[in-house]
Point group: D2
Chain length 366, copies 4
């Protein structure tokens, strides 16, 4: 991997904590292909000692990393940067230890996403033991909070270990679908509904009745109705974007695909805007974004177009027949823009790399 | 098939028009297994002369019917009853000819579903050439309009050829999900949103870019946004059930499964009802229905549970966190309760059979 | 379920042991739809006390049976017949107890399939503790061993509790593909190769890394290569059919479908037979079989055509370009003809019902 | 795409002919990500004038190329190299025209793979109109014919336009599975059987009854039995590798996945080699290959591990129970190592790039 460019550009040593989960191994994959990041360590509490490729034969011949235990000192000795792909609460303990040791953290768990620790405790039913870090954590959705990430880049350049809370998959897609309308101030105070569909990898690597092939295949179903933990995260982001509190009902569904997440969001328009005006608002909002594309008028996104990529695609329509309902749909890869590539995109901003470095590959189209 | 029972019960000769489409061949399958119906004719304009089993090898050794052209005189000579599984407009011409010849019609097309011919013409962009039949056509959703079907049974017993407009798949699932709340009068005048997901068989048998395996597989997408033709049908039924006009936004999605349709419907509750009261309303509404089951509180339906069957499963939840939103979800087989078995269920009522005759098989559970 | 026919025909009370596994619940489904069988008991060691429909929501509204523990006395008190859908070795203990108590057994496990207990012990690595029953057990593949099943029917009619060893899924498909050629004596002593593909339900209900949706989906792989336990069962049947020992190499594969099993079998032809002669041998062999269909020349079977059914479809081709290789392919539903419907078909023969009773439904064709 | 490296390394302008087929668009994707190749033209006879991204929304925001007609002069004016992803016979006319104009050709069609034009005419039922080119065409399977490709590199460096016949997908997987055993001389003269399974993208982009989602999904089937056109190509390669004529029976199957191809190959061992010796032969054969991995003993490959990649994985087992049968299995992506990445890998050798340039990305592991 050493090449002429390495003399010119900085490069960072990376540890992936929780490397055997689906999001964790996807971070590993992206780091392996990133010119400025070196995968020097991957950890897993249960599988330490095994080669990562034993668990994921796709990595045979590609990656020889041996899993180790997630020891903060060892991580700090080896790595500049840590990606934490761990269940919620696991990050509460580890993140402070890593920051103290000078390791910048990109946390893919939910532990630092919610600004209000009480909301966290209500929804996750566990104490937030490092709420003091919430102020400095930046919610890593670059298309909405890029300036905060850039500010973090400055602090990191000044020698500070920084913390990015990488957004959840459903909040990412919902936010990208709703943000242009909310930012434009064209939405009433009515309820916002996000009806979303995810592939099965969103349910994680652990085998269960729900992830059994014969259960998930050839079936769709809603789950977590009226109580999914991504709800307050969605409300927090949409309220921030709207500049006022918004109410959200969020319903996730499971569909038989490995990767992919589609959020279809319903918002009520406050004015007599036309479909073309709506399309223009969306098209211009993402025109300069390298990883988010607004599709042409009349086109709605399909998750297959972004599976395996770092990209999001957004489509929007207006149902002006009776009420004036904005229907915005956003497709992402739940493991990409919904997790791992979002984390790397944020890292690119914080570390001073071009934002799409290592993420700018074309999608498999079939 | 001849048995002792045949001496006691009446049996009817059946012609399936458009037998090679997915809904048509499913009607054939159900008729083959129905003790009171005999499949005497199956027609297809393009494939006449072929054995149906040539097109569907699953029928090898099961069904020897040879496809013929859909001639009204031939149909009337052979059959008492015709199931029309044809594209919209095709039924406009054929249905009057069959009724005149004394053949009762169960029409799976959209041609006689909408009571207002103008609405039909607006949405289907074609003249309604037999609007005089709309008054006598009964919308064949037995759980909501059983008494009308029973009235038709009386007329048919009196020698009249009768017409049933078999509902569309999305309207069936949306209506079964929304009806208990609307009937109970617990819903405000707010917009009703139906967000639905269908398997690919809903797109029909004709090969196209959209139905290509490599397009549909591993992807979900919205389609027909703000303009799907099932919208006015949904509004007509929900308005009838509610006893007042309701406004609906309807968004269908395509998911990678053969059969199955899930409608998740959002309604705003008008009062401070509790989740338990809501559950009770739904449970009691369908308690006596043989083919619709309300799942226990906390359970939402999955389409895999009803695939291949004549059944619907309904679940309901209340999101009372900020607003009071009723989230009701209904799973059906789009080719079963969404088309063919619904047609046979309606035929059972009209012909005087037990309503579940030939439809009461247990589902494959894997 | 009580009807006029019940006065004329006998009916039997059935217990399904191991009712929560995929094969067990499929037996339940078939028994529920069988006019001569009553599901009076379903057992499961781990889930006793739960309703079967809790585990399989598809049965909500269809089946109210509550799971119990598999106690031989209780089974004998309630049931005439037991279907054992248990892992191998579990049947070794239970079957003798049931037979002693007068309960006829249809055992879907491997415990009584192999006639030589030493072969069983070699492949299953466990002692065969009731080898004395092997002589009286009949291998329940009606198309090949119908006369033995009919002989059992006589013994049962004489008051004896009887034992049928229901064949494995791969042996069923391989045997049906190879038998016509072997019976006709047109095969050399060369190695016979069975290369088979199964859906994921063949791996059972227990969640595991292999049955996780994200592993099984979008992938095919061979497994159990050169050591799968169905190998000696295949050799035993093919040797019996051929009237001489045959050598078999068997390779199973896993493909991303719920149900379905395809065996493609390679045999070397001993003579200069033509493709037409070969086709005729196969067509005539199964011409009178109600549940096995030889497809027309040039057609090979697809598993989708038999999924959910009790049927098998067979196709055959001759590759006479260099050698003379017979390529015979058989499609079954691994849970149907490969397990549950085969058990019921055998039960029909032994209990004196028409062989296809409860099994003669048309397949879903989409 | 212009960067500092471009001053140091040569780069080549590329035209992809037949860019809208699945293999063609995959070549485009790989060229877009290749540091030494520039996609300057993409052609399609039927879709000229459209943006490629209109047909493949995955390319929205990624690729702005507009499709043009495949005119040899225009291609020669714009491109140094052409990848032809066209149906057989289409290349017979175009390839000579491109070579005459100095454009090196990587032909993904079957037109220049078979060295004997008579064999081509027998199997493809069409005259071979440019058989004079067969001598100079190199069969582009680098792992088996690298020296010939390197020789071509020399000729191209000397100013000659060169021709590579990119192998078919089934021949690639079968050859990689069988070659180590054949090269090692451990195989008898017995028949070699290749039993293979492909994803649906192998059937091409054109919608048809066979590629309809509802046909292909939840089903497996054999096709082209005893007559698939890849058979002589497999025999040619295996005979070359073995140094003597070999006889092959080849049976392809279709399984419900987008991408992926598994060949399970059966060969008879001529000596008393052990499983360990066999494993060693395979492991050492591919030890130095960057894109082919022999899996550890006891492991067989799954296609999911190589989907979306340029890699192959091989596993091998010995069934020494009765005969001595070598069972070797190779997994590839039919559009990758079976088509597009194989073409680019060959181009890398011929153009003097590192062999894995643009192909060395880690696989998505979920």
């Amino acid at each position: 991997m050493a090449n002429a460019a390495s003399e010119l550009s900085p490069s960072y040593n990376v540890c992936v904590v929780g490397a055997t989960g689906f999001a964790g191994v996807e971070v590993c994959r992206l780091v392996l292909g990133h010119p400025g990041l070196n995968l020097v360590m991957a950890t897993d509490r249960k599988e330490a000692g095994k080669r990562l490729a034993e668990l994921y034969p796709a990595l045979e011949g590609v990656c020889d990393v041996v899993l180790s235990l997630p020891d903060p000192d060892a991580i700090a000795a080896a790595a500049d940067v840590a990606f934490l792909a761990v269940p919620h609460t696991a990050s509460l303990g580890l993140t402070p230890q890593l920051l103290e040791r000078g390791v910048s953290v990109f946390d893919l768990s939910a532990d630092y996403r919610l600004k209000d620790p009480q909301v966290y405790e209500d929804w996750y039913q566990t104490p937030h033991t490092s709420a003091n870090l919430l102020d400095q954590a930046v919610y890593g959705l670059p298309e909405l909070f890029r300036s905060q990430l850039q500010h973090l880049a400055q602090r990191r350049a000044d020698g500070e270990a920084t913390l990015v809370a990488v957004p959840g998959c459903y909040p990412t897609a919902t936010s990208l679908a709703a943000a242009p309308a909310l930012e434009a101030g064209i939405v009433t105070d009515s309820l916002i509904i996000s009806d979303a569909i995810s592939g099965v990898s969103g349910a994680g690597r652990k085998p269960s009745a729900r992830t059994h092939f014969c259960h998930a295949n050839e079936s769709v179903e809603a789950y977590g109705v009226a109580k999914h933990r991504h709800t307050p995260e969605i409300e927090q982001t949409l309220s921030t974007v709207a500049g006022k509190p918004v109410d959200v009902v969020f319903t996730p569904h499971l569909a038989p695909l490995n990767r992919g997440l589609l959020a279809t969001v319903y918002l009520q328009a406050s004015s007599d805007l036309t479909a073309q005006e709506l399309q223009d608002i969306y098209a211009s909002r993402y025109a300069a974004e390298p990883l988010v594309t607004t599709l042409p008028a009349g086109c709605m996104p399909q998750t297959g177009s972004v599976a395996g990529t770092a990209r999001a695609q957004v489509g929007v329509a207006l149902d002006a027949r009776r009420r004036r309902t904005i229907i915005a749909s956003c497709a992402i890869d739940n493991l990409g823009k919904g997790a791992a590539s979002q984390a790397v995109q944020g890292a690119n901003v914080v570390l001073g790399f071009p934002e799409t470095m290592g993420l700018d590959f074309a999608a498999p189209v079939v």
